[in-house]
Every structure is written in structure tokens, then in C-alpha cells.
């Protein structure tokens, strides 16, 4: 049995049920204020260890009259006497897994059983110890597992993510703005890059992933290192805005130009809100595409007023409507003119092939948007590139299937502001909706990063396997991320108790049980060391320290 060491129980089980959770009387040695929702606890049953999450705490009295006539504020004796006796706390624990006391000490997924029973009365409850964490979530020195943070109140204990499981399904990182989504995503990406099982394509709207990331931390105006600095050989940065790269004195690996003929009606539909286009306008676009063919957009943009009259005669649309549409699309072209080109130079035309080749060779590609980060630009480019890459993946997968080959290297596409692509109105039309629903059929999955999960289509959300949720304020967002998880009411309290930064509730496909973590501190000394990245002076300090402890 995993040793509980010197730890004192924090309470005993006094009741409960499988469906409603367990009731623990809190020991009078423990301050209720230390019992945070989301804490990882263990009940020592007779045959099993039950792994639980604390979801609620209530104050009770043994006699209602204690509530009616509470001791005076200054009456310390009465307060001390009553605490834990006449007035006590009951915590609700949600049992999530159980493990036989006879199971071997190492991590073994097979030893983790779903909770099908509960323990007898008066079993002792302890805070989980590091062995428990390793037995449930795996150990960080095992290749399969990647250290992403530590459980609540267990700063020193690494909590790991099972990378193989994680990449089996799409995943999501949610939380309101400023809670650490981007930081957590970067931490997870470092694990993905290290594990070498998958490639990634990151649509980096705010230029935070490639070379440098910004941080709110004071005294760190230089920002934090980007993925490229951690993995110079495995990360490529593509840029949509070479000007901006130059200003930041970084050299992207490739420049992305989009030929205007790649813009389809699907893209325009996605942008309908941004372009202020109604349903009829979209109908008209479909007509135009039918009439004008592949190059419909460029053709239409070039039409003179006579041509417009012709088009309206051919019942493509009303003349006035066509004029208005043309105006809007011209302004759209203008807004994207830095990267959306009628003619694309030869060396820039093969960008999709280059991208596919990089990804298929295990590279991780960050697409920086530079200054072109308004939603219109971001959505257009992300949608076009994703559609093209997905097409390539589909081709390759189908080819491979015919030849009984393993198929292209799995790919995860990372999108921030995911709700813009996956809203209920759009998710049927965008490629992102398709990918989320396909469930890795063509080796492509999504990692969505979003502050407004309620804006994402329910069906898509339900396809998101592993969810990391930082603090969310809006009730609708909370409902959205918890949708489809069993007994979500307990998790709701846990979510509400998260700190406003660097904490997340993680649950779903890759997690044996839901758990609250404090994520690793990205790009601090320990983090850099873990990825063999130290400044020369840091390395010297470390070596000096090691030498002096070896010989000292």
C-alpha cells in the first residue's frame, strides 16, 4: 500500500453514496479554510484506495441551537470548544477511481478501476501523496508522460499528461482572458514536440509561440522564449508579415502568400459576419462561383459596371446587390492585400507543399500573423491553409490505405479564438468543424484555445477529448466546457475555486480522473533545464553547484 507516511488524516468518511459522493467529517485538527475545492484526496478503504476530488464543504451544527445562539465574537473558549464538536465541517468528496491495495506500486493503467462501490463508514481520508499522483497520472521519468504542472497544494509533486492518449483526440484549452491559456498551450506543445509522435501547425494570431512570447510578469520586458528557441531544429516559423518579423529582428523560415484563387465561397461564408454579408449575398457568391469557376473572386473583383449588368441579366443577382457585394469584397481584398495576391511569385506558390512536407517530416510550424491579426485576416488564412493541408492529409491517408502504409505523420492544428470558427452557425461549413467531427480519420486533430467556449457548437465541443479549463466567469461558458462530463455539478464548484492564473482543471480523454493543476512556470530556470536550454551563466552556476556538492 502506498505509504501515507507521517500524514495525519484530514477526516473520516461518515456517509455518502456512489451517486451523490462521499461525506467526510473534517478532523477538528484541520482548518476548514485549508480545504480547497479541487484538492486531490485519498480514502483508505479496506481493500481499495479511493482517489477523490474535494468538491464541496459545508458547515454543520450538532444542535440547531448553536446556530441560533452563536458564541460572542470575543468568546474564544466557546469558539474553540465548539469547533469540530458541536459545530463542524463536512466535505463532499467525489470518488473518481479506485485501486486495489494489492496492486503493484508502479503506474499501471490497468490497476485504475472505475468506482463501482464505496468504502465502509469511518475510513480515514488523507491528502494524496506523491506516490498516489504517480500511480494515477504516471511518472515524469517515463517517456510516455510529460510533466505539465503539479496538483493543488502539492507544489513539489510533478503531475503528468499521458501524451499518447492526449493526441488520440482533439483537445481544448479554455479560460477567460489572462488566465494562462497561451502559456499552458505552449507548455503542452513543448511536450508534444519532445515526444516526437506528432507534428503541429499553430496559427499564432498574436505572435506568441514562435520566437518570443509576451508576459504580464514585471521585470521581464523581454518576454519569454518561444518554441523556436526551445527546439530550433524542430520548429519552423512561417510568417504572413515579413515586415513585422524584420522589425522584431527575427528571420522566418518561410513567407506565406495566399493566391486569391484559393479563396472559396466557404471562406467568404466564414467571414460573413466580419464582412457584413447577409444570406442573399452569400447565395450570390455561390452563383458567382458556379458561373465564373475557380478564379471567381478575382474575376468578379475585376468586373466593370457593364459586366455587372450582364451578370444580373444572367440572374446571378440584382445589379444593386452585385455592386454592393463587389464593394465589400474589394474592401476585403484591400484589407488582406499584404498577403492575398492575384499573382503569387513562383518561389512562394509552393507553400502548401512546403508546409505539408515540413509537417510530414515531424516539424512543428508556427504561422505568425505579424500585424495582420484582425479576426478577418486570421480567420481567412487559418481556414484556407487548414483546408489545403487537410486535403493533402486526406490524399496521403487514402493513398497510404490503399498501399497498406502507415499514412502521414499525425498532425494537431492549434487555433486560438476557436469559437470564431466553430460557432453553431459556422461549424458545419468550416474545415475546422469537419476535422473535429472526423476524429482523426485523416490523422488530423485540433487543439482549440478559447475564452468563450459557449460560442462553440455543442456537437464540436463533445468531440473535444481532453479539456484544460482555467477560470471562467460566465455561467454559459462553464456549462459548455462541462457538458457531457459525468456529475459535472461537483466540477462546477471546483472550477469556480480556481485561481485567476496558472491553474486549470484538466479532465477528459487523457486524464484518468479530473484534477486541478498549477501549471509549470513556463520558461523559468527549471523549465529551461528540463529542455536543455540554459543561459551560459546559468549552466556555469549549475555546474559549479554540482561540482561543489560532488566534491564539497
Amino acid at each position: 500500500m502506498a505509504g501515507t507516511g507521517e500524514m495525519r488524516p484530514i477526516g473520516v468518511i461518515i456517509g455518502g453514496s456512489l451517486s451523490e459522493g462521499l461525506q467526510m467529517k473534517v478532523s477538528d485538527q484541520v482548518s476548514v479554510e485549508d480545504l480547497r475545492a479541487g484538492r486531490f484526496m485519498v480514502v483508505e478503504g479496506e481493500k481499495y484506495r479511493f482517489f477523490c476530488l474535494l468538491t464541496d464543504v459545508v458547515l454543520e451544527t450538532s444542535d440547531r441551537r448553536f446556530m441560533l445562539f452563536p458564541p460572542a465574537t470575543g468568546d474564544t473558549l466557546a469558539r474553540q470548544v465548539l469547533q469540530g464538536t458541536g459545530a463542524y465541517a463536512i466535505a463532499t468528496l467525489r470518488p473518481t477511481l479506485m485501486r486495489s491495495n494489492g496492486a503493484p506500486a508502479e503506474f499501471d493503467a490497468g490497476s485504475l478501476l472505475p468506482v463501482k462501490t464505496i468504502m465502509p463508514h469511518f475510513c480515514a481520508v488523507y491528502p494524496a501523496n506523491p506516490d498516489d499522483v504517480a500511480q494515477v497520472f504516471g511518472k515524469k521519468d517515463d517517456q510516455r508522460f510529460y510533466h505539465i504542472g503539479s496538483p493543488l497544494e502539492m507544489e513539489e509533486t510533478p503531475l503528468c499528461l499521458n501524451m499518447e492518449r492526449f493526441i488520440e483526440r482533439s483537445s481544448g484549452v479554455f479560460g477567460k482572458s489572462g488566465t494562462g491559456k497561451t502559456f499552458l498551450t505552449r507548455i503542452i506543445l513543448c511536450g508534444l514536440i519532445q515526444s516526437q509522435q506528432i507534428s503541429s501547425l499553430i496559427f499564432d494570431m498574436h505572435n506568441e509561440y514562435g520566437f518570443r512570447g509576451t508576459t504580464e510578469e514585471r521585470n521581464r520586458s523581454g518576454g519569454v522564449r518561444g518554441l523556436k528557441q526551445f527546439f530550433p531544429d524542430r520548429v519552423k516559423v512561417y510568417s504572413l508579415d515579413p515586415e513585422s518579423s524584420k522589425n522584431r529582428r527575427v528571420t522566418p523560415d518561410a513567407i506565406v502568400r495566399i493566391p486569391i484563387k484559393d479563396v472559396t465561397v466557404e471562406d467568404i461564408m466564414l467571414l460573413a459576419g466580419e464582412l457584413n454579408l447577409g444570406g442573399t449575398a452569400l447565395e450570390t457568391c455561390i452563383q458567382l462561383e458556379n458561373r465564373l469557376g475557380e478564379n471567381w473572386l478575382a474575376d468578379f473583383l475585376e468586373k466593370e459596371s457593364d459586366d455587372i449588368v450582364d451578370l444580373s441579366r444572367q440572374n446571378v443577382g440584382h445589379q444593386g446587390a452585385l455592386n454592393a457585394l463587389q464593394r465589400k469584397l474589394r474592401s476585403f481584398e484591400h484589407r488582406c492585400s499584404d498577403f492575398l495576391k492575384r499573382e503569387v511569385a513562383k518561389q512562394e506558390s509552393g507553400i502548401i507543399e512546403e508546409l505539408f512536407s515540413d509537417l510530414n517530416h515531424g516539424k512543428h510550424v508556427v504561422l505568425e500573423f505579424g500585424r495582420h491579426r484582425d479576426p478577418l485576416q486570421y480567420m481567412l488564412v487559418a481556414n484556407i491553409l487548414t483546408r489545403k493541408i487537410h486535403e493533402r492529409y486526406r490524399e496521403e491517408t487514402e493513398k497510404a490505405m490503399e498501399g497498406d502504409q502507415p499514412g502521414p505523420r499525425p498532425l494537431v492544428i492549434v487555433i486560438e479564438e476557436a469559437h470564431k470558427f466553430l460557432s453553431p452557425e459556422l461549424s458545419d461549413q468550416t474545415i475546422f468543424g469537419t476535422i473535429a467531427r472526423e476524429m482523426r480519420k485523416y490523422h488530423v486533430t485540433l487543439m482549440v484555445v478559447d475564452q468563450r467556449p459557449s460560442g462553440i457548437d455543442d456537437e464540436i465541443l463533445s468531440q473535444i477529448g481532453t479539456r484544460a479549463v482555467c477560470l471562467l466567469d460566465d455561467e454559459r461558458d462553464v456549462n459548455a466546457v462541462l457538458q457531457g462530463t459525468p456529475s459535472s455539478s461537483g466540477l462546477r464548484a471546483v472550477l469556480a475555486g480556481l485561481e485567476s492564473k496558472q491553474q486549470a482543471l484538466i479532465f477528459g480523454h487523457a486524464m484518468p480522473m479530473p484534477i486541478v493543476i498549477r501549471s509549470r512556470t513556463y520558461d523559468d530556470e527549471n523549465f529551461r533545464k528540463a529542455f536543455h536550454l540554459e543561459a551560459p551563466e546559468e549552466r556555469k552556476q549549475r555546474l559549479d553547484k554540482e561540482i561543489s556538492s560532488d566534491y564539497g
Binding site: F69, L77, Q80, T85
Partner: protein, 193 residues
């Protein structure tokens, strides 16, 4: 048990701990019993007689009629709580009461400390005795016990918590005892709320 005091009007205090000692006739073993004083009375030594007031003060009586005091005795009654045998407190009552003429002593502070180390002694003091407030008796017992534990700052809390367990469903009784312990009438439960 009821005992007669050696000196008139000098009984042990209400709620204080006493010890009776005797030799067991059959086994020859030394026996002792710990009890708590709850009733004190001074009466005529001879049955059937009653002390009369004579309309004088106590001082005047002592001066003018000293012989009447010869006829009076002070007695106290104590509630059996348990034993101390070979320095170990026990809270089960012995099968027999102390025999008549057994000597009764006030417990030393060390004996009180030993006997009240565990708050179990309270279980008996809380029981109801006719014409006696068990809250008063319990509070007095705790005060004596606390005095013997002067070095332990948390003692009162420890005993109070045991009390709270015993009286978990009787908030007013617990309140009453705690009020007697804090000794100040200003700290009523609920005085502010």
C-alpha cells in the same frame, strides 16, 4: 459517600476532589475511591436534635455558648467518580463503597491532575442529582481540575471539547457550563446576535 469532617465548618470545597482509603478485609489490599464533593451540611451530632438559632450572632454564640458547638458536626457528601490505583486513574466504580470509618482525604493537586488528565471524569458529573445543578457541579469540577493543570494552557479547551461532545444535542446546557467557566456574566452566548 458521606463523610464527617474532622473540624466543624471546615468542609472541602464544593466540586473539589476527595479520596477515601481503606484496607479490603478479604484481600487485604489497599483500596481507594475518588469522589467529588457536592453536598455539605452541619447538623447536630445526635439524631433527633436540631441546632437552634438562640437569636445571637455566630460570634456571640462562640463567646457565650461554646458548648453547643460540641454537639454539632459538619458532614459532606461526594459523588463517586472512579479510582486511582498505582498511579493510574480508572473511571469504573469499585464494586463496594468504602466501609464506615474509612478515612477521606482531600486529593493532592497531583492526584487531581492525574485523575482529570482525561476529561472522562465529566461523564459522571454531568448526570443529574436531585436538588443539585449538575452544570454547577461540572463547572466547579472543571475549575478544580484546571487549577491542577495550571501549566497546561490548552487544558480548559480540551475539557470543554469533551463537554461539547457529551452535550452535542444540548446547546443550552453546554452554554451554561461554559459561562460559569469563563466566570464573566457579560459573555453570554448570543449576547451580540
Amino acid at each position: 459517600m458521606t463523610a464527617q469532617c474532622r473540624l466543624l465548618n471546615q468542609p472541602p470545597a464544593f466540586g473539589s476532589f476527595v479520596r477515601a482509603e481503606w484496607n479490603d478485609g478479604e484481600s487485604g489490599r489497599r483500596k481507594s475511591l475518588i469522589a467529588i464533593v457536592y453536598w455539605v451540611t452541619t447538623t447536630a451530632a445526635e439524631a433527633g436534635r436540631r441546632p437552634a438559632p438562640y437569636g445571637l450572632t455566630l460570634e456571640e454564640l462562640k463567646r457565650e455558648q461554646p458548648q453547643i458547638f460540641e454537639l454539632l458536626v459538619t458532614e459532606f457528601t461526594a459523588l463517586h467518580l472512579g479510582t486511582i490505583i498505582e498511579n493510574a486513574p480508572g473511571y469504573a466504580l469499585p464494586p463496594q463503597p468504602p466501609p464506615v470509618h474509612a478515612f477521606v482525604y482531600s486529593c493532592t493537586s497531583e492526584e487531581v491532575r492525574l485523575f482529570t488528565e482525561s476529561p472522562r471524569f465529566l461523564r459522571t458529573t454531568l448526570q443529574s442529582i436531585p436538588n443539585l445543578s449538575s452544570e454547577q457541579l461540572t463547572a466547579a469540577a472543571i475549575r478544580h481540575a484546571n487549577a491542577a493543570h495550571a501549566k497546561e494552557s490548552e487544558y480548559l479547551v480540551k475539557v470543554g471539547r469533551e463537554l461539547a461532545r457529551q452535550l452535542h444535542d444540548d446547546a443550552p446546557r453546554l452554554q451554561a457550563i461554559l459561562e460559569l467557566l469563563t466566570g464573566s456574566d457579560s459573555t453570554h452566548f448570543g449576547s451580540e446576535f
